[in-house]
Amino acid sequence: MPKYAYYPGCAVHASARDYAVSAQLVCQALGIELQEIKDWTCCGASSAHPTSHLLGLSLAARNLRLAEEMGLTLTSPCPACTSRLAGARHELRDPAALAEVNDILGKDFGNTVGVEHLLQVLSKGDRALPVKRPLGGLKVAPYYGCLIVRPQKVLGFDHEENPQSLDRLLSAVGAEVVPWGFKTECCGAGMPMARKDMVHKLSGRILAAARSAGAEAVAVACPLCHSNLDMHQGDMKPNPKMPVLYFTQLMGLALGFSAKELLLDTHFTDALALLRGKGLA
């Protein structure tokens, strides 16, 4: 049974419970064990790395070291965490940087641990999916966001401009994936506090593009994308009314879990009506 050192990160741990729960259920169903890293801390994102580069690096290294001790590849459902952790691993290939960080950690960290986003773990190879309830041609726009496939040099996963892994995964569970041009466009990221207008514009455009491509729902793999795309729709003019679901929720539905188990009733923009209409909830 494949085993991973699981790093939820703050957003998935706190606000994106629906993502955390659905990720766990899907992994269970697929026989993937997620062993949560004990005593994990901040990955070094948000305020940490702009405050001090070394602080950001050391925080990431601390978590990487914990995973290294477990002897497992680290996986996180959050693209920002993945990016920070993989970025640190990349930077710490420089022996001088590694020595400096080890001095701060007070422990010997070898920088040998692998880092993969949950999408990379789930889309690996040709894993047979025990689909119980195919999504029956639900038209979904796969939205990857900015960080899952970038930068290529650090992550080496999928394709920067036209990624395919989520497309394949969703097709495999019976969704109809619509082709569109906004897979990796910016959703407004961490700006909703400072510049709500900008988030409305950027996220609004993504949702409109999904709509004009014929999508009935947008699938995401990032807690921040989800909150930007899902939470602000009421403030956008016109209201896009576009359900935004975690890809793990869509997979979960296909693997036989109920909408309730997958916390599909917790979104700001209602997804249940659409799913009921398709006989999926």
Partner: protein
């Protein structure tokens, strides 16, 4: 006993400014067999050479060492001097005390001097063991093969034909003309491409010295300069070229229409077709993958259980052809021909942009390539010169050009500049404006490279007269919004993002070597770079030669080039070929490898390592099969010598024994 003369050149102050000449002379005098030492100011000058000649005669010298510059520079000069003085020219050795001593050790005169002394000692030890050598001569087949009938190959074939040399021009497609035939007008003068090209094509077909083989490819090549043997595969057209009168009934009546390669997919052609109206020869071919009768025959031949619905037998072309030229029995043919020289001008193809996901990856119908626009602009093209959007046939008013798609982009493995795109974007935007003054073009560019004659002025004309807006920056995304294509990019001069709602997007897709170019290069045993462009023997001084004597390259096949450059290149290659084909006999460098058959153990490792296919197998009278070097092919590189385990191979003029003697002379 050898009598060796050593000439230590001052090269003005080039050598004498660093190397202590008197000290070197004193040391040279002490070397074994050295009977004469001199130090001319410039040994390569006429006075210097005279000094060498006179010393040979006066002092009865039998071997000469010139210690001066690199043998690449002047070995030939001094060999001639030896010959003029009656000595075998190969009894010369050069010690390079300029580049290898004075120039690299300018900061340490003592060391430079010491190194010069040692190099001369080595040369003396080697020259003492030189044997006289005589170059061999071989006859020349006075015929040339030109591969590729684009403008470069056409030019080369015509120049050769006009020099009264017999030429065979082999073209893979059913017609000659290459990419230039697909163009509408040409920068920077906007003269119509067909108008200047088709007369040349006709000239080729009517030239008494040129034999045109279209729909043909080179199958194999053997032999060497002056004497190549080439197998040419001529594919069956299924049309008798002698009977056909090019009346056109067959291609008008053929019911099977498929996408036209010549029109870059913008138009259709029938299964029996000529690629375009002015094709040369103007005889059609039957495309076997699409012909209905061929499909019918396949159906007939298939086992009953597996075959589907009976297709139509068709044969309309055959029935309607007045001279009954359709010939189903025609088969592929292999022709065996001899040539003295070969010119490769296989040209280019455009980059497949589907790897650019951000530009729609080939899925957005109104995103087209420069070549496709070229076909639509052409009055004889599929749309009769009216530019139309492939999606709905509407006439576009806002057109956005993207430069460097598959050029100057490391991400797709194409870091080089394609050389023609900046100019053809300017050209096309001018033509769009000429066709319809309401069209507004935008060009996203990295730099505008307009370095040819009249090019900068032309590119300004696009901006100033045609009103084309140039935006410096890359496009990050193109997506469909309703009927419009939204082009998102950056104006990096203004430092702000831009979005343009376009009707048509034209990608200036870069150029890359034609498919099959590297396989052909392997057959010809010539080099190519990482992208597959053919390699010149020297990028500056030998731009059309290759490292295989007698084989020349021209046009886009060597690297990105516009028409004027491709034409000049074609002519240059022709002149170089004439240089060989005008000789009665060719002399070959005698510094080749030689196998001692008695020592050869028949492992044939030499055969494997030889880059020039010069190793042959020879059966001796005792039935032993041993290696033998074909002196005409051997370049004297020495790879076989170093890999020969029993030491059976030696390089004439640089034998193992000589190399040992050189090493023994070295005092460390």
């Amino acid at each position: 006993m050898a009598r060796i003369g050593v000439f230590i050149c001052h090269c003005g102050s080039n050598i004498a400014g660093v190397v202590d000449i008197p000290k070197v002379m004193a040391a040279a005098k002490e070397l074994p067999l050295v009977t004469y030492v001199d130090d001319p100011m410039y040994t390569c000058s006429e006075t210097g050479q005279a000094a060498v000649r006179e010393a040979i005669v006066k002092h009865g010298l039998t071997r000469v060492v010139v210690s001066a510059c690199s043998p690449r520079m002047h070995e030939v000069t001094f060999r001639k001097a030896l010959a003029q003085a009656g000595l075998n020219p190969y009894l010369l050795e050069m010690a390079n005390i300029r580049e290898q001593c004075a120039w690299v050790h300018g900061d340490d005169k003592a060391a430079a001097t010491e190194k010069a002394i040692q190099l001369i000692a080595m040369a003396v030890a080697k020259v003492a063991r030189h044997e006289p050598l005589t170059p061999k001569s071989v006859g020349v087949t006075k015929r040339a093969l030109v591969i590729g009938g684009g403008i470069a190959g056409i030019q080369a074939a015509l120049d050769l034909g006009n020099a009264n040399i017999e030429v065979v021009l082999v073209e893979r497609e059913p017609t000659i003309g290459g990419r230039m035939a697909q163009l509408d007008k040409t920068f920077p003068t906007l003269d119509c491409s067909s108008c200047i090209l088709t007369p040349r094509m006709v000239e080729v077909s009517q030239h008494p010295k040129i034999r045109l083989l279209t729909y043909s490819e080179v199958k194999s090549v053997s032999g060497f300069v002056g004497n190549f043997e080439v197998e040419i595969l001529q594919r069956a057209r299924k049309v008798d070229m002698d009977k056909c009168t090019s009346c056109g009934i067959c291609w008008q009546k053929c019911p099977e229409k498929v996408s036209s390669e010549f029109d870059s997919g913008m138009g259709k052609r029938s299964a029996i077709y000529i690629p375009f109206a002015q094709a040369v020869p103007s005889k059609p071919v039957i495309d076997l993958t699409h012909c209905r009768y061929i499909k019918f025959q396949e159906w007939q031949a298939a086992p009953e259980a597996t075959r589907g619905k009976k297709p139509m037998e068709c044969r309309i072309c055959e029935r309607l052809c007045p001279p009954q030229a359709v010939d189903w029995g025609q088969q592929d043919q292999v022709l065996k021909e001899k040539f003295g020289a070969i010119i490769v001008a296989t040209g280019f193809q455009t980059f497949d942009y589907s790897v650019y996901g951000e530009y729609g990856g080939g899925k957005l119908p109104d995103v087209i390539t420069g070549l496709q626009l070229e076909r639509m602009l052409s009055a004889s093209g599929p749309t009769g010169g009216v530019v139309q959007r492939p999606s709905d046939g509407a006439h576009p008013k806002t057109v956005v050009f993207l430069s460097c798609v598959g050029s100057r982009d490391d991400k797709v493995g194409r870091p080089y500049c394609s050389n023609v795109c900046c100019m053809y974007m300017a050209k096309q935007s001018i033509l769009l404006k000429e066709h319809d003054p309401q069209v507004q073009s935008y060009v996203f560019y990295i730099d505008t490279r307009a370095t040819g004659k009249g090019y900068e002025e032309f590119s300004r004309r696009a901006q100033e007269e045609a009103g084309t807006v140039y935006l410096r920056g890359r496009v990050s995304k193109i997506y469909q919004e309703g009927k419009k294509l939204v082009v998102m990019g950056e104006d990096s001069l203004m430092g702000r993002p831009v979005e343009i709602a376009a009707d048509l997007v034209v990608l200036a897709t870069g150029v890359e070597p034609a498919a099959g170019a590297t396989e052909l290069a392997q057959k010809l045993n010539i080099g190519y770079d990482t992208y597959g462009f053919l390699m010149e023997a020297h990028p500056k001084l030998r731009p059309v030669e290759t490292q295989t004597d007698g084989i020349f390259v021209a046009g886009m096949a060597v690297g990105p080039k516009d028409v004027p450059a491709a034409v000049a290149h074609g002519s240059a290659a022709a002149v170089k070929a004439v240089g060989i084909l005008s000789q009665e006999k060719l002399t070959t460098d005698p510094g080749t490898a030689l196998v001692d058959a008695a020592k050869c153990v028949s492992c044939f490792l030499c055969e494997e390592v030889c880059p020039f296919n010069a190793v042959e197998r020879e059966t001796l009278r005792d039935k032993r099969v041993v290696a033998r070097i074909n002196e005409s092919l051997c370049k004297g590189c020495g790879l076989c010598v170093s890999c020969c385990r029993p030491g059976a191979i030696n390089l004439k003029g640089s034998t193992n024994q000589q190399l040992m003697a050189e090493l023994m002379a070295l005092k460390l």
